[in-house]
Amino acid sequence: DAMVIQNPRYQVTQFGKPVTLSCSQTLNHNVMYWYQQKSSQAPKLLFHYYDKDFNNEADTPDNFQSRRPNTSFCFLDIRSPGLGDAAMYLCAIANDQADGYTFGSGTRLTVV
């Protein structure tokens, strides 16, 4: 069974129309990450939550926001998607007791 579940798998949104991507986990890990991955590129960290503490990367545009209402769920909000925001968005989890991340299958975002 999937431990990190991302919904939807595919999302098409209009230029400038707010969109929300969701991530849930079944392992109760305290750290959740959002990565952006464009075609043929490495994943790029946008931000992460360490428990309830939000940590933004310095180069993450203000257009990207996140919410973590509880341990299991985390959301990525894109307030005004541009064509350049089309990408795969990956959620990952980790905890203090073990190394490494577990990634979800990602949400492929298309902006039209």
């Binding site: 990190v4 994943p43 190394d99």
Partner: protein
């Protein structure tokens, strides 16, 4: 300092061959070096990882070689199969707690039958 440089960008190997993917880093504080395998349309999956206290780690057909003095590590795939065709990412992080993995640029590996 935070970069991890990965090569080659793409690699084609015949079935049964041993593809080798290399990574180099600058930050001496890095102490955890995982490799991820990613199939098209899927998220990366942890394949194997190593810490600097050993020079080699094997898990099945996958081996990491680590050279601390050269600040390099590599992935070897023994008896490669067409099903190993995927994109491979090396990564590195330091410390405990909320690790922030720094990824290499990825290698697209194709294993021909």
């Amino acid at each position: 300092q935070q970069q991890v440089k990965q090569s080659p960008q793409s690699l084609i190997v015949q079935k049964g061959g041993i593809p080798i993917i290399n990574c180099a880093y600058e930050n001496t504080a890095f102490d955890y070096f995982p490799w991820y395998q990613q199939f098209p349309g899927k998220g990366p999956a942890l394949l194997i990882a190593i810490r600097p206290d050993v020079s080699e780690k094997k898990e099945g057909r996958f081996t990491i070689s680590f050279n601390k003095s050269a600040k390099q590590f590599s992935l070897h795939i023994m008896d490669s199969q067409p099903g190993d065709s995927a994109t491979y990412f090396c990564a590195a992080s330091s410390g405990q707690g909320a690790q922030k993995l720094v990824f290499g640029q990825g290698t697209r590996l194709t294993i021909n039958p």
